[in-house]
Amino acid sequence: MNQTQEVGYVISSRDFLVYLDGLPTIRVNDMVESDNGARGWVNSIAEDKIEILMVDDAKITPKQLFKRLPNRLGLAVGDYLLGRSINPLGIPIDGKGPLTKLKNNPILELDQAAPGIESRQFITQQFLTGITLIDTLIPIGRGQRELILGDAHSGKTAFLIDIIVNQRNTGVICIYASIGQSAVAVRNLIDTLKNNNALSYTIVIATSSSEKAPLIFLTPKTAFTVAEYFQKKGKEVLLILDDMGNHAKIYREIALLGNKPPGRESYPGDIFYQHAHLLERAGNFLPGFGGGSISALPVVELNLNDFTALIPTNLMSMTDGHLLFKSGLHSQGQIPAVDISLSVSRVGRQTQDLLSNLLSTRIRQILSEATDLETISRFSAELPAETQLILRQRDLIMAVLKQDSLTAIPKQIQTILLALIFTSFLKDKPKSFIEKYKGVISEAFVKQTALIPITKSIGKLKDEQKLIQLLEGAGPVLTKLCPI
Amino acid sequence: MPELPNPTILITGAAAVVAILLYFHEYYLRRKDSLDQRKISQETKQKAAQLINAAEEAESELLSKGNWATQKLAEEFESRLEGLIQTSQNSISVSQDQLIKFMKDLQKRSADFEEASRSSTEAKINQIFERLESKLSDFLIQTEQKTTSSIELELKSTRQLIETYKNQQLKLIDENIIAMMEQTLTLVLAKKLSLKDQLDLVYEALAKAKVEKFIV
């Protein structure tokens, strides 16, 4: 206890919500501590009382003394966080011992205002995920926010882990915020990342569902604070928020306990603000404001594929696109289980080079035509040759887009594989051919001396027709390598 | 009597006379031809014999000429050959001498060269040894320095660690001292200070609060 300090006494308490009086010069987001060491932060200030959300579990009695702490709601950030798992207050939870903090590590506040327009830069670079379906058809840019929607068991988490693992050696820092997931899931995630040597450039910020609601509520704020630290150093950051639906539910719990009037689906009226002011902190920044970029991938779990509920629609309106995962596609074996027709990337097209753009337009055309023709194909026994071609091309495309977990395909190979579908080499082959020989073909374009020039020349091509012509020349080499 | 002869018989008779005349003409011409022919063939034979004679003469003339020419040629060839053989013999002997001289020269030179190379190799080897010695000694000195300096660094850091530890422990002890003192004071004062004393202290605190304008 210091000589002179501001104190407050408990007026009333409800679970993790405590009302204090006193504390004359307190501000929102200051920290207070009770005499038995339980900490809380100031959520709101009324005329005669102060609302505190407790982050530590302790018994609160009326008239208990709370003293004001000198620090505000924040945590110390630094490079030592890489490879570690922490909780939102900066305490390590991975059992690897205390964090090696230095004295001059900055302590950043969790609640920062999102930078304004003057600090943003046009998104021009593509964020390569290593997954063919995303990089070609629904590209993501560096600094974009892309919402990941999907039912339970539709492969979202595995997809996100793949993206993280495929960022090895690219200099991208990955931050995974696990908001109120089960402790087992967090443990599995950390182990998977460790087994794939992905932990050295990843930070995990996790709260299990058994922790106090205010602590779970802070998780995305901590994630963004850490991301901003790295972004200001000029790094590219990938931030995954899994999942925002949980965050919304926790905020609803806190608001309802605090007697805030419930709105639609019983969420409080400012639920949009809570998510929007977080997601606005992501983006691509000018060198004057640090350089770097924060690409955010918020995740929402849907109920029975219903994306018209409040939270999914809110998030869809504040992000630059969304990927819709369907569990039906997942059980059919399409991995990643993204519904291409219902997914969109509003900023990604400007980051793709011209060749990929043209190729992806063509592929989307075929996919949409095939969807139309599919109904006919079910009813007629004999189809004209063009229809058969389109349907077969669609099958080939889907076979090329299927990608197993923890595999990365470089960008040029992705383009080549998709362009091969339009060459005579693959024109008549069934999709089982691709499934069998995809790996062989991909390797061939990297290792065979006859084919390496094609791979290298992709950067200079301006037209997908030219690429297809080049690949016609590669036909004989490939036929030799892939005996039927 | 004689009637006019039948025209047919007239014509036939005319024709026969003509035929006989033609036949005589023809015979006469044939005889002349054959005579001419005989004459021509005789002339031809004569001419041919003349030609053959002339050819024979020419042939013998040529032959004699040729013989003589061949002989003359053969003589010349022989003399020339003699001359060539002589010159070549000379040149061979000259070049032989040259070769022998050259070989001798070569031998001498190679012997010299061997000598020279041996001596230079010896000198080089000596030089290399000297350099090796000096480098080795430098290297040893350097290693020794490095080892000593690294050991010193280690020692310094260890000493520092020990210092830090010592300071930490001393600080702990200090805090313990203070804590013990506080405990002692609590126990003692609780027993010793009378109620009046305690109250006095409280009044003092209140007075101080007033002075410090803590309570306005």
């Binding site: 104190v7 005669d48 | 203070i178 409280v202």
Partner: protein, 176 residues
């Protein structure tokens, strides 16, 4: 009631309340005591007005003395109509009271708390100052005060914490 009549009634009721309050506060020095006395006063008055056969609550001597010391004029303020209103106002104005919280190392009885209260009121020149006495044995001697949400420690322990270095030095003089 008309508006001006209501205002008049309110202002007069304020005056009445102030009088009642000051009378009560004359002899009451701690918050706990105040709340207790309000309660017994209320129950006594309700008993008197609305009568009941329940036996009166046993009170300690001090409170009984106080009760009997209240002048008759005091009781005249109350009647059947306004008793509830007055007490409602009194309870709501409890929150506006200025309370000095004081942490002591020893337990106090009524006598001492009265003394303390008088001295405090005199020192700070606030006749209606109320004390809230709490106990904290970590303060070795003296007391610490909390006023308007600010905590100041006037106890011995804070002095020791402040002079740690000197104390340690003088201890170390005894080391070999």
């Amino acid at each position: 009631m008309r508006h001006w009549q209501r205002l008049k009634w309110r202002s007069s009721s304020f005056k009445i309340m102030d009088e009642i309050f000051s009378t009560i506060l004359n002899e009451t020095f701690t918050l706990t005591q105040l709340k207790l006395r309000l309660r017994i006063l209320k129950s006594h008055l309700l008993n008197t007005f609305f009568g009941s056969d329940s036996p009166a609550e046993p009170l300690n001597q001090l409170d009984l003395d106080w009760q009997s010391s209240l002048p008759k004029t005091f009781y005249q303020h109350f009647n059947k109509d306004n008793v509830y209103d007055i007490f409602k106002d009194l309870e709501s104005s409890l929150n506006q009271l200025q309370v000095l919280t004081i942490y002591l190392v020893f337990e106090v009885n009524d006598q001492i708390s009265k003394e303390l209260g008088t001295v405090a009121r005199k020192t700070f020149n606030k006749p209606s100052l109320l004390l809230d006495i709490k106990y904290d044995s970590r303060l070795i001697a003296g007391c610490s005060l909390v006023w308007k949400g600010v905590y100041h420690d006037y106890s011995l322990i804070s002095k020791i914490e402040g002079k740690k270095a000197e104390i340690l030095q003088s201890f170390k003089k005894f080391l070999r």
